[in-house]
Symmetry: none
Subunit: 185 residues, 2 copies
DNA sequence: TCTCCCATTTGCCAAATCTGCAAGAAGTCT
DNA sequence: AGACTTCTTGCAGATTTGGCAAATGGGAGA
């Protein structure tokens, strides 16, 4: 059974219900027995054109709209996480092969302690000024700048100046390298 | 069998041919046996969605386009007839229950002899001036004027003035009255 | 004309599916 | 409970299916 066909029956049923019609009513319009329509709607029999064409006519829908697979809502909506003065908005669904976040760093009064952990991080500064302490380097990234580094190197990231910094960040901690080159520098 | 379904097979075949594919090729793509596809194309078996969906995918067409009945071109294109200085453009297909013409009368130097024949005629002057001799009447119709008369009354029609007259004419000669009232006037 | 080759059609038939009826189930009022 | 309405399902005969293999058709070339 082709995948798209599984939704045909339920869709017919949904449209029928939305019109407030009973099985018998629609079956009469489309000139088929109620049992046939019942089985069709519940997927207990194959959807043939013979059956579908009269139905589409009375339901006012096209054939394609009955069989076109419904695409799940692609919008990612996950709750924002607040931690250590950061506002972390996950931009990829849970379980996604990529982990993307929009992180808003608040200005800090006190420089946080650099940390290490497994993984790689790539980031892009959307707005604000970002101070990146990475090993023996002390960098300030401004809007439009991007950076990538090995998070096993001690690092600290925070907004500098008086305004928050918005950063788009792609991060992986599962040991899979995000890029083909090794992070030697 | 629903009417629309009869064209599904031939259409599939036409599309397949237009792509220069053989039965075996398309059958392989759509994962069905050549015999099944052959029977489908020649209408010897029912067109089920199970069969059609893979085909539409490979043929690059929608389901609806396979089953939507093709409406014949509604435009009427018939050769213009020239006779007696008139240019007669039939505006209805042969065999149509109504006979409509656009007639262009050329200016005449000599008044034609009135004639009689069975039927009724309705006319509308699109442009020019039309002289209508009808029984004891001698009328000039100008743009926008309409007239209806019994063609058993002796009549002659021709353009008057220096320019041709364009007339839309509905005519019937088969004894069926075009209008409900009798043509007494 | 004959033959070869490729595309397509068709006979066959076991297996799967269809079909409507009538009975059953599930839910809703009174 | 009982009466209704809506929907589901068991059943059995009728119909359709699907792929294999053989037959057919139609060119192209010998």
């Amino acid at each position: 059974m082709i995948d798209e066909l599984k939704q045909v029956g339920p869709r017919i049923r949904a449209i029928r219900h939305s019109k407030g019609w009973t099985l018998d009513q629609l079956a009469a319009m489309a000139e088929m027995s109620p049992s046939t329509l019942s089985r069709l709607e519940s997927g207990k029999r194959q959807a043939s054109l013979e059956l579908l064409i009269p139905l589409t006519r009375h339901l006012g829908v096209g054939l394609d709209s009955l069989v076109t697979p419904s695409v799940p809502d692609p919008r990612v909506r996950r709750p924002v996480i607040r931690r250590d003065g950061m506002e972390i908005a996950p931009l990829t669904p849970e379980g996604s092969p990529v982990n993307t976040f929009k992180i808003t760093y608040q200005p800090v009064t006190e420089v946080p302690e650099p940390r290490v952990h497994d993984g790689y991080e790539w980031l892009y500064v959307i707005s604000g000024k970002l101070r990146l302490l990475l090993g023996d380097r002390d960098l300030v990234l401004t809007r439009g700048e991007a950076a990538e580094f090995d998070t096993r190197v001690p690092h600290a990231i925070f907004a500098t100046g008086s305004r928050p910094a918005q950063v788009l960040s792609i991060f992986n901690s599962d040991g899979v390298r995000m890029h083909t080159h090794t992070a030697e520098g």
